[in-house]
Symmetry: C2
Subunit: 101 residues, 2 copies
DNA sequence: TAAAAATACTCCATAGGTATTTTAT
DNA sequence: ATAAAATACCTATGGAGTATTTTTA
């Protein structure tokens, strides 16, 4: 299980369409199909039911995705804190607005 | 940032010794050294100060490791729930102990 | 002088790609 | 006919390895 795989699963859940999700996460449809199959295999869960109209989320998939969101939320806190832009530097987190001189 | 890298960082923090930690996580010392350097690079954090007596945790490393533990805790909940042994099956989670017939 | 981390490579497993096929409206 | 997923096959990157060097208490 990797954070990538969990992000992929969420993208599919959001779009209910592997082809569409693959665009959102910037990989090809076959690669995303493979990645999510591996995740399901490894975790022993059928997250999605596939059809030619897209995918639907199974009952156990619903639960699985809740767990996934918890993990990704914590991971996002970390990445926001440390990687680039947002969150930012503790050094400037207090008294960032200077008083008028 | 991967869950593996976070697990590696925690192992080093626990042992304060990359060589020792590498045994615990079953990879070689140079590979662990490289993996943690990559993590520090990517996240823009110096987690450890190195010396020939092992490593010490920096102040920002302390904070970083707190975040890491939060992520890994959520990930562990998932893995416990879905992968093998512990956590286990909802089907048997209620009335698992049969009443005497 | 020993114990730790760092460096310098080599290798291969796998994440991702393209092309195509299958499936079901 | 279309739109989706699945299959088949290929490629290259990076995660891991071994061997060695550097550092300093």
């Amino acid at each position: 299980m990797t954070l990538q795989q969990l992000k992929y699963a969420i993208a599919i859940a959001d779009t209910r369409n592997i082809t569409e999700a693959s665009k959102r996460v910037f990989i090809s449809q076959p690669s995303l199909t493979a990645a999510i199959h591996e995740l399901e295999e490894e975790m022993g869960v059928t997250i999605f039911n596939r059809s030619n109209k897209g995918v639907t989320i199974t009952n156990e998939g619903d639960e699985f995705l809740s767990y996934a969101r918890q993990v990704l939320e914590q991971a996002a806190l970390m990445e926001d804190r440390y990687k680039g832009g947002k969150g930012g530097n503790t050094i400037f987190s207090v008294a960032a607005t200077p008083s008028s001189p």
